[in-house]
């Protein structure tokens, strides 16, 4: 329940603002633009992330990567030969694929292009037959490496979607590429691996081919891709480190791929911070504008203030009147700013096909921020207004 005097104050403040519409619009600009910028910055990055979250949910959060690590700094750490079997021992593991990252193999579309691809090497991955099944990524064309390919060490290669684009590979095309001087026939293209984009530019061959053509010693996997049952990724990840390394000198590092993806999205936060800071700056500059315009307004309205004082309005009431005007500017500016910011997010979402995300605390926080800045900005003019002496402003006698 507001008192009658407070209601009087509100009507006087609104009356003052409505009487000078252009000035009021100018006062509103600062809070509107500032709040809109902050809301848009936070909302747009959240919406981009919201899209990512939806994507991760769709891809599954249960893909775990377990790779060989070495605390002794040896050049090419490997996993034990029976790493897949060891991983399968973990109860919550559903499926496992193993790969070996091969080094020093120059891949080029044809032998003459070797020089170029020496400087931008294409990773070659030796793999088993289960990789697409574990990654849950289908092939966009052709087929994956089969057991027969492996058994016979057929020189067959599957290329990642990015590499396919780079090489200009057409679906179904019969193409031979050069892997370390050996001709390999392209048999398929793997779809985009959202959870591990590094695979998109790789060339995949069978373990047996890798062994036959490129590796002199025993071929050992360097990395496992593991799917755990849903919700157990953390415990599975911990268990895998122990299970794979058990009883040997080898060390294993694990990574839950969905988490890594979310972590990568965190870099957007810096952009968010920059844009939000600029919005904050806009609000502060807007606040300075409010202080400025209102100070001038106090001078222009000195007669009005003198009249009010003569009529029995106290200094306190005069100060409250101006503070309330500032507060109303902040409140309305804040609301308009939130609306403008939300509109900007909608446009952004519409342009990029993200999911609209605006956390519920942001609109009230934006309005509150605008009000606080406006009230602080209104303090000085309000003080000045209250200090005016009616005798000086009314020119008596």
């Amino acid at each position: 329940m507001i008192s009658r005097n407070t209601r009087d104050l509100i009507s006087v403040a609104f009356g003052g603002l409505l009487a000078r519409k252009v000035r009021t619009i100018l006062l509103l600009m600062g809070p509107v633009i500032g709040v809109a910028a902050i809301v848009a910055a936070v909302g747009l990055t959240d919406s981009a992330k919201g899209d990512l979250k939806a994507k991760v949910a769709q891809l599954g959060t249960n893909l775990i990567e377990a790779k060989a690590a070495s605390s002794f700094g040896s050049q090419n750490p490997t996993l034990p030969k029976d790493a897949v079997r060891r991983a399968e021992q973990v109860e919550t593991v559903e499926k496992v694929a193993s790969v070996v990252q091969l080094t020093d193999i120059i891949v080029s579309p044809y032998p003459q292009a070797k020089a170029k691809y020496e400087t931008t090497p294409i990773p070659v991955v030796g793999t088993d037959t289960r990789l697409p099944y574990v990654l849950e990524v289908p092939l966009t064309s052709g087929r994956w490496i089969s057991k027969a390919d492996n058994d016979n060490a057929v020189r067959a290669v599957v290329i990642g979607s990015g590499l396919s684009n780079e090489l200009g590979y057409l679906p179904g095309e019969s193409r031979t590429i050069d892997l370390g001087g050996k001709p390999y026939g392209v048999i398929g293209v793997l779809g985009k691996v959202e959870l591990d984009p590094s695979l998109d530019n790789a060339a995949f061959i069978s373990f047996a081919s890798a062994d036959a053509d490129f590796v002199k010693e025993d071929i050992l996997p360097t990395k496992l891709y593991v799917r755990s049952s849903d919700g157990t990724e953390q415990v599975t990840s911990d268990a895998l480190r122990v299970a794979i390394a058990l009883g040997g000198p080898k060390e294993v590092a694990t990574e839950i791929k969905a988490e890594a993806l979310e972590l990568a999205a965190q870099s957007d936060r810096q952009l968010q911070l920059i844009v939000a800071s600029m919005g904050l700056l806009a609000i502060i500059v807007g606040g300075i504008g409010i202080a400025n315009v209102m100070s001038i307004s106090v001078i222009q309205r000195s007669t009005e203030i003198g009249i009010r004082r003569a009529l029995g309005h106290t200094r306190r009431t005069i100060a409250q009147q101006f503070l309330l005007e500032a507060m109303v500017v902040g409140f309305i500016g804040g609301i308009l700013g939130v609306m403008l910011g939300a509109f900007a997010i909608l446009v952004g979402v519409w342009l990029s096909g993200w999911t609209f995300v605006l956390q519920t605390w942001i609109p009230p926080a934006g309005v509150l921020l605008a009000m606080v800045v406006s009230i602080v900005a209104g303090l000085y003019p309000a003080r000045r207004a209250a200090k005016l002496e009616p005798l000086e402003t009314l020119r008596l006698g």
Binding site: S3, R4, N5, R7, D8, L9, S11, V12, G15, G16, A19, R20, T303, E304, G306, I307, R308, R309, A310, L311, G312, H313, T314, R315, R316, T317, E389, P390, L391, L394, R395, L396, G397
Partner: protein
């Protein structure tokens, strides 16, 4: 001529040995040990040439200024010891102002201007509006209550100002050269309104240098060089 100070009633406003001095190093006495009693029913004029101390007197009578020395009582209450807020509220309760330049608030209607005097008094809006309408009707501006000052003539604006000064039902109406900015017919109209305000519940004080205006008053206080040089009642014929 009648002796004023012998009146047994309590004065509405009483100045006792009031001086108002400006400046620190070089002291200028705008008022020098002035005493004055404004009684219920007074219809008085304070006259004097410019520099006589009229304006200073007006500021002190209107409770807008404080004396350097001396005592001022309004309705028996000493104002020199009150804090600013209490003095402001006392002013709002007891004194109605009419200014030479009307001093209406430009963005408010006639009604809004009159209502401004009734703000922060705990009145319901409807109540406030009704009182303000009554005051406007009293000065003949009821039908023009929604006009803004720029839409009103000088005489009408001054009548709005008079309505504003009356709406709080003050014991003293203090007018500063109320006809100074008006042509003669509007001035006459305004003077007639002032004359109609004579009442034992109220005192009307006109501060003016216009002898014609002063001549309409029942009591004339003449000032020169910061002192009251004459205080006379009109001899009733």
């Amino acid at each position: 001529m009648t002796e004023v100070s012998s009146d047994p009633r309590e004065p509405f406003l009483e100045l006792t040995d009031v001086s108002r001095v400006y400046g620190d190093e070089v002291k200028v006495f705008a008022l020098r040990e002035v005493s004055l009693r404004i009684m219920p029913g007074d219809f008085m004029a304070i006259v004097g040439p410019s520099g006589s101390g009229k304006s200073t007197m007006l500021g002190l009578l209107g409770c807008l200024d404080l004396p350097t020395t001396g005592s001022i009582k309004i309705a028996g209450e000493e104002i020199t010891t009150l804090d600013d807020a209490s003095r402001t509220r006392l002013r709002g309760r007891t004194i109605g102002f009419v200014f030479q330049q009307f001093h209406l608030i430009a963005h408010l209607s006639a009604l809004g201007n009159v209502e401004t005097a009734l703000l922060y008094r705990g009145l319901k809006p409807a109540e406030r509006r009704e009182k303000a309408m009554d005051a406007l009707e009293r000065v003949g501006l009821g039908p023009r209550h929604d006009h803004r000052p720029v839409q009103l003539s000088g005489g009408e604006q001054q009548r709005v100002a008079i309505a504003r000064s009356l709406v709080t039902d003050p014991i003293i109406v203090l007018a500063d050269e109320p006809t100074g900015a008006l042509d003669s017919s509007n001035a006459e109209n305004v003077m007639q309104i002032f004359e109609s305000l004579r009442s034992n519940e109220r005192a009307v004080v006109l501060v003016t240098h216009d002898q014609g205006v002063a001549g309409r008053a029942d009591r004339k206080v003449s000032m020169r060089d910061g002192e009251i040089v004459a205080d006379e009642y009109k001899v009733l014929s």
